[in-house]
Symmetry: C2
């Protein structure tokens, strides 16, 4: 949660001119997002979101992210849409940062997703995958299997500071994942970070999906495996098969999984658990003392990883074999 | 800038029920305010501000602050108004904190006030003073002259870490202020922290005054002296007499100053500079290393203090003698 860059009213008003949104009536820094600075704007025309992209987002990726949101919204996916200024540009510059003005998405993140939320998510994810099929830009997933070994190496022997034996366990797991990782599954644009805090609901209705700043091209079923980890485990680490079944059934009703995808699901789930375990482990070991953002506990994902290791077929996730 | 307390959607929705505002459509933590946690809410009925009072605000002071906002708004002053729930209460509890739902005030803070802004401020301040006359609650100003010596003592010998000789200069100044401080000036409710970031404008029109969490009873002219310091000096510390004249003339057109107030103005301005110098000095010497909020430079107020010491009559502020 942060606003890293201060924006003066004069700069902001000058930035807004080519968008023709009337007078600026209000703007407030939003305490969310750890990558960017976000502001909520009110003008004569309505409410908008302003994002200033900070260093952690590569400038060269922004056309992919903004173009994707624009593409998906054009296909009817409920997600924020970048506004274009009078020059047709979705990306501008403000306070020395790349900046985009984005439609305001209503809704509330669900802290404790229920099976009905998981079902709504499954449908939305499948629709997102279908809608992304003809998006013309591509972006490699730098946090897929080839990116995990460098991450693990950067943690090095310090993994055992978090849990005795963790280094060896991750090394063994990684060797398996590298050897067995499926390379021929149906590919497409994936969200790659579709946690409950990146999905809005109004009441029980999913009102939108957002934060596309990890989106990339990868196996579509891998996105589903990320959601299994992010939505279908309880606070105590227990797997909730009712939620998993709701998620997977709803997904497959819109986009059926082929046999290879079904077979790969446990391994993809292990990989996804590894990915979040490693980034959290890295942040855990490397966050500056006294930092404002508390790192998330990597061991939540070790529990998930171990669980998926025990799953041998999609039936373990509630799908009929 | 901060949200210190996380609020879950379930807790928030339960809190909102007795306000009858329809469905909750959106809520976002706001990155502003160093004392409290603030959220912007959207419901079927509109946009609202939610404040959770953190430790630095005394719970016993909240009826004064909220009652004052309610009183002033009832008199036509443009300021946020606390909403009452079905039990008639302006103050509730949420996430273990005292909490209030407050009307959303439109507008933008001016970073570099111009004379026209100072004139608008002067009018609004005088109207606020008049509107506050019959407010029934009272609150002592703990940051007036009797509070300065304990503050200076808590900084002790460390004042000279900021500037050689600062300790002696402040000690001498404080002795003068304690000896000569005027006690018989017209009293009333003052805002006591009316910096440009606590005033909103839309275009050139003042749209509202907010952040009443230092409001108290004190000499009305002292509030004006605070505004002189907060609005009428340039970034380089230079006094801008055009702005001061605009502020004072606009104020006195609504609420004329009596002879004693006019005579006391330079001393009140010294006192106000001392007050902000001391709290900034304390924060400067005591902020934890790596803290998220950067302390403000106390020496800005030493410059102001020295300036006011050279003023011998209201003419020094642009008023006719």
């Amino acid at each position: 949660m942060a606003v890293y860059t201060e924006v003066s009213d004069e700069e902001l008003e000058a930035f807004l001119v080519p968008y023709h949104l009337g007078r600026l009536l209000s703007y407030k820094g939003i305490a969310e997002g750890v990558e960017n600075s976000n502001f909520m704007l009110h003008t004569d025309k309505g409410f908008y979101f302003l994002t200033l992209y900070e260093k952690r987002v590569a400038k060269s990726d922004l056309p992919f992210f903004l173009g994707l949101m624009n593409h998906l919204a054009g296909k009817g996916i409920a997600c924020p849409v970048p506004l274009r200024n009078e020059r047709g540009e979705m990306l501008g510059e403000l306070a020395g940062r790349s900046a985009a003005l984005i439609s305001f998405l209503e809704g509330i993140s669900v802290r404790r997703p229920q099976p009905r939320h998981c079902a709504a998510l499954g449908r939305a994810l499948a629709e997102l995958h279908l809608a992304g099929r003809d998006f013309e830009l591509t972006r490699e997933n730098s946090l897929s299997v080839s990116g995990w070994r460098p991450l693990l190496q950067s943690c090095g022997a310090r993994a055992d500071e978090v849990l005795a034996g963790l280094g060896v366990e991750l090394e063994t797991e990684l060797a398996t994942l590298e050897r067995e990782w499926p390379r021929a599954l149906p590919q497409g644009v994936i969200h790659a970070d579709l946690f409950p805090d990146n999905v809005f609901f109004i009441g029980d209705d999913l009102s939108g999906v957002f934060d596309f700043y990890f989106a990339c091209n990868d196996a579509l079923a891998y996105d589903l495996a990320i959601c299994l980890n992010a939505w279908c485990f309880e606070g105590d680490g227990a797997f909730n098969i009712t939620k998993a079944r709701a998620l997977l059934q709803a997904y497959t009703q819109v986009r059926p999984l082929d046999a290879a995808e079904l077979h790969a699901l446990p391994l993809l789930a292990r990989g996804s658990a590894m990915r979040f375990l490693l980034t959290r482990l890295y942040d855990w070991l490397n966050h500056p003392p006294g930092a404002f953002v508390n790192p998330k506990n990597p061991l939540e994902y070790l529990k998930r990883l171990r669980f998926h290791r025990g799953i041998t077929s999609p039936a373990g996730y509630g799908l009929d074999a």
